[in-house]
Subunit: 325 residues, 2 copies
Amino acid sequence: MTRILIIGGGGMVGQKLAHRLSETGLQGPGERQVTLLDLGFPDAGAPAAERVTGRLSERTDWIARQRFDLIFHLAAIVSGESETNFDLGWDVNMMSNWQLLSALRAEHAASGGTYIPRLIFTSSIAVFGAPYPDRIGDEFLSSPQTSYGAQKACTELMVQDFSRKGFIDGMSLRLPTICVRPGKANLAASSFFSGIIREPLNGKDAILPVPDSVRHWHASPRAAARFLTHAATLDTARLQGRRALNLPGVSCTVADQIEALRRAAGQAAVDRIKPQPDAAIMKIVEGWPRDFDPARAIALGFEAERDFDEIIATYIADDLPSARQ
Amino acid sequence: MTRILIIGGGGMVGQKLAHRLSETGLQGPGERQVTLLDLGFPDAGAPAAERVTGRLSERTDWIARQRFDLIFHLAAIVSGESETNFDLGWDVNMMSNWQLLSALRAEHAASGGTYIPRLIFTSSIAVFGAPYPDRIGDEFLSSPQTSYGAQKACTELMVQDFSRKGFIDGMSLRLPTICVRPGKANLAASSFFSGIIREPLNGKDAILPVPDSVRHWHASPRAAARFLTHAATLDTARLQGRRALNLPGVSCTVADQIEALRRAAGQAAVDRIKPQPDAAIMKIVEGWPRDFDPARAIALGFEAERDFDEIIATYIADDLPSARQ
């Protein structure tokens, strides 16, 4: 029996992951018990999962005492909000993570050193800061230009050091921008990348706050859930001490996205996109990476989509029917 | 009048810096008042400097209220001790720094945004982790393999983010291993690099815990003080948001060091070096960088020694006479 906790399990990727675990497990069939921790949950949520409502910072000792075999940590204050609320961002995205790691370490000690949970931390490509090479390689420096990126990078360093010491067996996945997100827009500065596809496919208008020449790095929610389960069963010795990983994705411009939308849903859908430049969002987005050469992750078996058409097809297959209900 | 604080001002580099400030100021003459904060001070200390005895974590609010124009932060638990005392290392080398930055930010807010101190944080090449390219460039990733390195890297991220937000005007200097250190051996795993030169020059035996093929990256205490004063008056806009900097140094093997000692002091001095392999020290040291291409720092005007002979000459000129008193 594998006991699994998803911190941030009420969120979009957390729910995708819970569904995936209930359907295919980690590596095929096998007994597992999934617990979700979050501030709230969607009404029609993932099946066969225990739900715990609460704040991570108030639950770290409880989490440690439960001795989960596997912990996915997806909870965070998103990039836009971390930029406007400095205290909240550092408190949740760094200090709470320190507290979680400290609690797991205390439980490791209490167990006589036998309890060493696998921890998969969702980091972000926001750990990088401009200027960039054309493609960011696996040895490129992390010099974030947002608070969110700095907080993610700090947590990566902690996950690596606690793992090196043998208190946990952790790794950090630098997720591409997840696109197309179902549901509503959120406070992430990247929210529009999903909005310009999702809203037109649902017969609604979408705002485009940046020029269509903006290039960025994407993977679908389905790919994100697959990254997470793949990481959960990876032999971490293969990481050779470098426990933060750039993941594969699709590099394309907003214009490429729009052309893929045209192929999938026609000109009427494209006409739903309304350019409305937003300097604050542009300032954040222009500091973001555009393309990667994620050789290590590919060698370790991580897989994303081949192009943005496939990302749109994934949204239509996984999420559009329920959006129309 | 420039009001200057040196946190860790009782330590070796802190004292060198205080001496340099009293002799040459920052950029030539100019009124300045220097305060040193440390747990203790040497008997024959730097002149014309106020001494404050205390722990950083208990003094952060006091520091902020003083509104120093310039703060050098040199205090840390050294690498060897951070590795054996996990709690102490993270507490002092990360949490206290967070507390200092938070206090400075609160004072910035209390001043209506006018108080923006220059903060020069001494980081370390320990932020890097093997495997390395032959020469580490300015865009190489920070993936530390010691707790000390992880703590320094976390603080760098905080210094950069607080600076980006305009709360402070900070930068982090990744000092080479400082060599030849005067005085006694300390708990740093790198202590022997100085010991094998210093002890023979003072007529004492020295232990060499690693093979003489070990290559490493060095600068003298005088160069360290010069790096710090140079950073204090640098136009930080030139850093373009990347506020952690690899500094110049001398790359040489222990065998090169020993040959330089032979040239400076003869075979009798070399005979004082006693090989005594230490697996724990070797394990730490073999994860350290060996050579750099610090193009950015050189372009910004930072200067180190040309070779290890010059480093030994600096020790003899600056520190050997007092050692013989």
